[in-house]
């Protein structure tokens, strides 16, 4: 039960700045997911909270106490590692008990806590096994158990599911979420997997090249990405970005069609270069709009993803229901209310482009000549 606050936490290795100053605060019991491509600094951030890495500047406060200079062991934080990092020569019981023994808890207290945690995770039958006698999923559970049994103020998860196969990953994802809810322990969870990020977090922090690209609830990040990086990073297939020019309050796309923006680009000068974002699922076949040749169709059963190439060379992914046969060319138009307007210069979302510009039908479809 604790709050976590990071203020101005920064990290550089020599002259390379790995993390720009980060300001962040977590409420009691909150699960914050940090997501980003590899090398974005997300693990560094986690390791600084853990105390395994020293921040170059800034303070870390746990429950109001400054822990920036404290030893990892003195922080009351438990961490689940990507490779589990179980002690190979110790039984499951000893793996979980080790930290408690060092803390000098009594035998009975240790046995009680380990049994309780093992019960929570369904590990009772495995307590005497060595890690090498366990499956990947079981090892994962032991790693979680080792963290839970400590009853820490804060959990840190460093890509804990990335070594599991797909089915197990889904199962463990649910389990982590349930456990975290049930125990109510404030948690930081680092991942590069956007599904994990979307489903697990109360809030989502997208890191891009050491900078906080966006910090919001997962659905807000999805609905209103702060910049083109977040827009393309969250959601699969990635959001389409159509180069366009602002002309008379509407966007004249490079591919031809003009899209009404309904003030979404307010504040930007006439003639400004824009990127219009449309998610693949927000396209629908239409008599006129964006026409392109179908280059590839991925049929997933319940839906199909068509990869088009427009006349000007812009690629366009479109998600359609069912597994219908695709014609060689396809004309699609964005659904109303699902345009994202970004400034092409900065990549930032246009300030006025808040949720759902009401009518975003193509005004006119100038011939794209497919």
């Amino acid at each position: 039960m604790a709050t976590l606050r990071l203020s101005g936490v920064r990290k550089s290795f020599g002259p390379t700045q790995v993390l720009q100053p980060i300001d962040l605060s977590l409420e009691d019991g909150e699960l914050l997911v940090i997501v980003g491509a590899s090398g974005c600094g997300k693990s560094t951030l986690l390791r600084m909270v853990a105390g395994l890495e020293r921040p170059s500047a800034g303070r870390i406060l746990l429950d109001g106490t400054d822990i920036t200079d404290r030893d990892p062991a003195a922080r009351d934080i438990a961490m689940v590692f990507q490779n589990y990092a179980l002690y190979p020569h110790m039984s499951v019981f000893d793996n979980m008990a080790y930290g408690l023994r060092i803390r000098g808890l009594s035998r009975t207290e240790i046995a009680r806590r380990v049994d309780e945690t093992a019960g929570l995770l369904g590990l009772q039958a495995l307590l005497q096994r060595k890690p090498r006698q366990l499956s990947g999923g079981q090892r994962q559970r032991v790693a979680m158990g080792r963290a839970i049994v400590r009853e820490p103020k804060l959990f840190l998860f460093d890509e804990p599911l990335s070594n599991l196969d797909a089915a197990l990953r889904v199962q463990m994802r649910g389990e982590i979420k349930r456990l975290q809810r049930r125990l109510g322990v404030t948690s930081l969870y680092v991942t590069h997997d956007q599904t994990e990020a979307m489903t697990l977090g109360d809030r989502l922090l997208v890191l891009h090249e050491g900078r906080m690209a966006q910090l919001d609830a997962p659905m807000t990040v999805f609905a209103e990405p702060a910049d083109t990086y977040v827009a393309r990073f969250i959601g699969a297939p990635a959001m389409n970005l159509l180069p366009a020019v602002l002309a008379g309050g509407a966007a004249r796309t490079q591919a031809g069609p003009v899209l009404a923006l309904d003030g979404a680009a307010a504040g930007l000068p006439e003639g400004a270069k824009l990127l219009i974002g449309v998610r693949p699922e927000h396209f629908a076949p239409a008599p006129n709009g964006f026409a392109g040749t179908v280059e590839l169709v991925e049929r997933l059963g319940s839906e199909s993803v068509a990869h088009l190439r427009l006349a000007d060379g812009t690629p366009l992914a479109v998600r359609l229901a069912g597994a219908a046969e695709m014609p060689e060319t396809l004309t699609v138009a964005p659904m109303p209310g699902h345009l994202h307007v970004f400034d092409a210069e900065t990549g930032k979302r246009a300030a006025a482009s808040r949720r759902a510009a009401p009518a975003a039908l193509p005004l006119e479809a100038t011939g794209t000549g497919v």
């Binding site: 853990a50 395994l52 062991a73 438990a78 990092a85 179980l86 002690y87 080790y98 090498r132």
Partner: protein, 276 residues
């Protein structure tokens, strides 16, 4: 790898095994025969199993005025075990420091250790002798073992072993609150147990086979190792009690063989565990 028995490979292997085994067999056969016959050159390849008297004779009385063989075996055993344990202890600690701690001149320290690899015992034997002499350790067990304990090879090996320990394991222990000594005792040493066993075997045999240094530093017969002892037994050729010498040689083989056999089971099991 085609399922058929590869006769050529087997023949080569058999030949190799025979080549290695023959001298040992010869020593065994010789230990059961009459010394005078051996001196004449009439060494039969067939052991005379009824005549094992050379063994108790050598073991209890010694040969040609040497100490009894059991005593020399004990000295050798003590020396080899002390050297092996001492080397492992020192090497683990120095490798631990070099791998896991950041301190000034860490690289220099490592290189100084590394450079001593190029100076085998024989090269530094005179200065070492001078040092031991100044310390008054000539003709003492300490003098016999201590100079052989300092070891770059084992340090280097442990360094490689420790470097292979995953960082996450180190960090997990830190998060669990294990201090440096605790981590060494509870995690690092158990995790490296198989390697330690393997190294113990190698170092024990190394210590057992030492010849030049014991010859120089320990002139007192009470400190004669088995290797030195055998040399002493071969006095003037005509008077040598050959069967006792060969019996001693056979006895001298037993402890290292026992160590290899016993530890081998252990470290093979350890290596098969895999996954650090």
């Amino acid at each position: 790898m085609n399922g058929r028995t590869d006769w050529t490979a087997h023949a080569v292997l058999a030949l190799g095994a025979l080549l290695f085994a023959l001298p040992v067999w010869l020593a065994f056969a010789g230990s059961t025969q009459d010394s005078a016959a051996i001196a004449r050159g009439d060494l039969s390849l067939l052991p005379n199993l009824a005549n094992l008297g050379a063994y108790p004779r050598a073991l209890i009385q010694g040969v040609m005025g040497t100490r009894p063989v059991w005593h020399m075996l004990l000295v050798s055993l003590g020396m080899a075990a002390t050297i092996a344990v001492g080397k492992i202890a020192i090497s683990i600690l120095s490798a631990y420091a070099v791998v896991f701690f950041r301190f000034p001149f860490r690289r220099t320290a490592f290189w100084i250790i590394f450079v001593t690899l190029m100076l085998p015992v024989e090269v530094r034997i005179i200065p070492t002798y001078a040092v031991m002499s100044d310390l008054g350790l000539i003709n003492s067990f300490t003098g016999l073992t201590m100079p052989l304990i300092a070891s770059a090879t084992a340090t280097l090996l442990f360094r490689q072993i420790f470097l292979a320990v995953p960082d996450e394991l180190v960090e997990a222990a830190r998060m669990d609150g294990a201090g440096p000594l605790r981590f060494l005792r509870d995690v690092l040493i158990p995790v490296s147990a198989a390697n330690i066993a393997a190294l113990f075997v190698i170092l024990f045999v190394y210590g057992w086979n030492q010849y030049l240094w014991p010859l120089l530093v320990a002139t007192d017969p009470r400190l004669d190792t088995i290797v030195i002892g055998i040399v002493r037994m071969i006095g003037v050729e005509s008077q040598t009690d050959w069967s006792a010498v060969m019996a001693t040689a056979m006895l001298a083989l037993l402890p290292p063989v026992a160590v290899v056999v016993l530890m081998q089971r252990w470290f093979v099991a350890g290596l098969a565990e895999g996954e650090k």
